[in-house]
């Protein structure tokens, strides 16, 4: 009988997992569906789920009205750029903290993370003023700086946990074998840390891609990424649900595809060290 119970339990658990998964995915699914409706059908009551006139006109209109490719390229530059700059600082930092910890290394890590606990709006006015005075408003360089600093604590933390998993003796063995610091990094540490660095990179590209607060507040057009592209369709003058949905779908599509292909890597990255 024990077996029968476990089968039933498993069925229930599977059903529950699918249900929860569906609930989480539903808003995205609804956005995608809505993007194929006419504006009228988009807010009809009761809502129409599948049986309506499917149309791609919203995509056409959105394409006509705004330069999608410019927003995409800004998003790409900002997310990848800020992540690469962050890695440039985070790899040596995490390396030092993992392999040459000092008395206060743990405190330092906590302090870095604590900066993430403040609501970003608390820093908006000073940052805005600094950007204005330095002429950084609506510039990609300025935004890369903000996004890089914003995600740096998380990147350092992730890399730190990765590097902690690598036994120091292996690096010492490389040193005994005559490897210089550079060769030790390239031939020994990097190959062992590649999965960790890759998943950190992926996660932070996604975080930076989705970041809306700073990108909306510090840009107008020249450096505006896809978040601004979406926001431009939620106007106070009228509801354009269908067009907004089409814009949203276009904005999340690239990162959704990236996430889909990288999900194995991401899950591994986020649970690294948990099972061993």
């Amino acid at each position: 009988m024990a077996r029968a119970v476990s089968v039933r339990r498993r069925t229930i658990a599977t059903a529950a997992a699918w249900l929860i998964g569906f609930l989480i995915f539903f808003p995205i699914l609804w956005t995608i569906i809505t993007s194929f409706k006419t504006e009228l059908e988009a807010f009809s009551t009761p809502p129409k789920f599948l049986f309506f006139e499917w149309t791609t006109e919203n995509y056409g209109i959105v394409q006509e009205r705004s330069n999608y490719l410019r927003f995409v390229s800004n998003s790409l530059i900002l997310s990848i750029g800020s992540t690469l700059v962050a890695l440039l600082f985070a790899i040596p930092a995490a390396w030092a903290m993992a392999f040459a910890p000092a008395k206060r290394t743990k405190d330092l890590l906590m302090w870095m993370l604590s900066t993430k606990m403040m609501p970003p709006v608390g820093a908006l006015i000073p940052v805005y003023l600094i950007f204005r005075d330095m002429g950084l408003l609506d510039s990609r360089g300025g935004l890369i700086a903000v996004l890089f600093l914003m995600n740096l604590p998380i990147i350092v933390w992730m890399l730190y946990t990765y590097f902690k998993e690598i036994p120091g003796e292996i690096l010492e063995a490389a040193r005994m074998d005559g490897a210089s610091l550079w060769k030790e990094l390239v031939y020994v540490l990097a190959p062992m840390a590649v999965p960790g660095i890759a998943s950190t990179l992926l996660l932070n590209v996604i975080l930076a891609w989705n970041e809306a607060f700073w990108t909306l507040n510090l840009t107008t057009s020249a450096a505006a990424p896809l978040t601004a592209f979406i926001a431009s369709y939620s106007s106070p003058e009228g509801l354009f649900w269908a067009k907004l949905s089409a814009a949203s779908t276009m904005a999340i599509a690239p990162i959704l595809v990236l996430g889909w292909f990288a999900q194995k890597q991401l899950v591994r990255g986020l649970t690294f060290g948990a099972v061993k």
């Binding site: 036994p167 003796e169 292996i170 010492e172 063995a173 490389a174 040193r175 005994m176 074998d177 005559g178 490897a179 210089s180 060769k183 031939y187 020994v188 190959p191 062992m192």
Partner: protein
């Protein structure tokens, strides 16, 4: 060549002194074992020689020149780690070849040296495997292979056998000793296991709380320990220590007698006691004897002993085998 001289070597971590002041001269081709309880500084001393830790003061003279400030790579030493520390992403071949590649040797030469080392260490069939596909003993051999191909001035071993099971440990011990014979290279070997120290060493360095207690051949340490600590650490089962009246009789604060240097009798002797416990090892029997005010004493009897727990027994220490110590624990000679 591989002579290593430590001159007033000191090591502190912040306010904590690990090595107060170490002086030691190691001859070319010698097999020296650093032994001591955990936390005695033996691994730190080895790591100082390797260059994996910086000395706080003092000189480490390798082949006549001070290497204390050189990075590990420039010291020409090889190290075998307790955890083996193999490169997990490289094949056995590349693990062994790594040091040679770092030294920029030509590929043909590297291949030849790796092949030779693999043959010596019985690894020829495993060269294309990854370390995770090997057993503990094989991994240990790869670690040794990585050390020997570089033809270092000296080999450093940091408790290399402590992760192996007992049977394998005995085999590897013999392999390392044979390797030492065939290479004739200087080897420094760290262990907390005094049996390894006794069986392998040309000379043993006994460390206690960062201080070198005594340096000598295994039998010197066994026969003429300089201190209570060395007397208690070398030899198994442990030396018996007696204080009070039994010691004053020999003009000492403490006397020590090894379990194998006490004669047993069921009729008469110097000390009287009762057998509390008998450990039968076949070849020997270890008797744990409650000897009243002298405390619990251990005695080794050859073969099977005819008396068991509860029996009355008399003990007599062998003349000339009694070690005398003063109140500071130093030997009185």
């Amino acid at each position: 060549m591989g002579t290593i001289v430590l001159k007033d070597v000191q090591k502190r971590f912040g306010d904590v002194t690990i090595i107060p002041n170490a002086n030691l001269a190691i001859e070319n081709g010698e097999f020296v074992v650093f032994v001591g309880p955990s936390g005695c500084g033996k691994s730190t001393l080895l790591r100082l020689i390797a260059g994996l830790e910086d000395v706080s003061a003092g000189e480490i003279i390798i082949d006549g020149s001070n290497a204390a400030q050189l990075p590990p790579a420039k010291r020409g030493l090889s190290m075998v780690f307790q955890s083996y520390a193999l490169y997990p992403h490289m094949s056995v071949r590349n693990n062994i070849a790594f040091g040679l590649k770092m030294a920029g040797q030509p590929k043909a030469e590297i291949d030849a040296k790796v092949a030779k080392a693999a043959q010596v260490l019985n690894l020829a069939d495993y060269l294309d495997r990854k370390p995770r596909q090997l057993s503990g003993g094989q991994r240990q051999r790869v670690a040794i292979g990585r050390a020997i191909v570089r033809q270092p001035k000296a080999f450093l071993f940091d408790e290399p056998l402590s992760n192996l099971d007992a049977a394998l440990r005995v085999n590897m011990r013999i392999e390392i000793m044979q390797l030492h014979k065939s290479l004739g290279a200087t080897m420094i070997y760290v262990t907390h296991d005094q049996v390894e120290a006794m069986t392998m060493a040309d000379r043993i360095v006994v460390l206690n709380k960062g201080n070198i207690e005594q340096v000598g051949s295994p039998l010197e340490l066994y026969n003429r320990p300089d201190s209570l600590f060395v007397a208690g650490f070398i030899g198994s089962p442990k030396m018996n220590f007696l204080t009070g009246e039994a010691a004053t009789k020999h003009q000492a604060h403490t006397i020590g007698v090894r379990p194998e240097h006490i004669a047993l009798s069921d009729r008469a002797g110097e000390w009287e006691g009762t057998i509390a416990l008998a450990e039968h090892l076949g070849a020997d029997t270890f008797l744990h004897i409650d000897a009243g005010r002298h405390g619990r004493l251990t005695v080794r009897a050859a073969g099977e002993y005819h008396l068991g727990p509860g029996s009355k027994i008399w003990l007599t220490p062998e003349k000339g085998r009694i070690h005398r110590f003063d109140d500071k624990g130093r030997a009185i000679r």
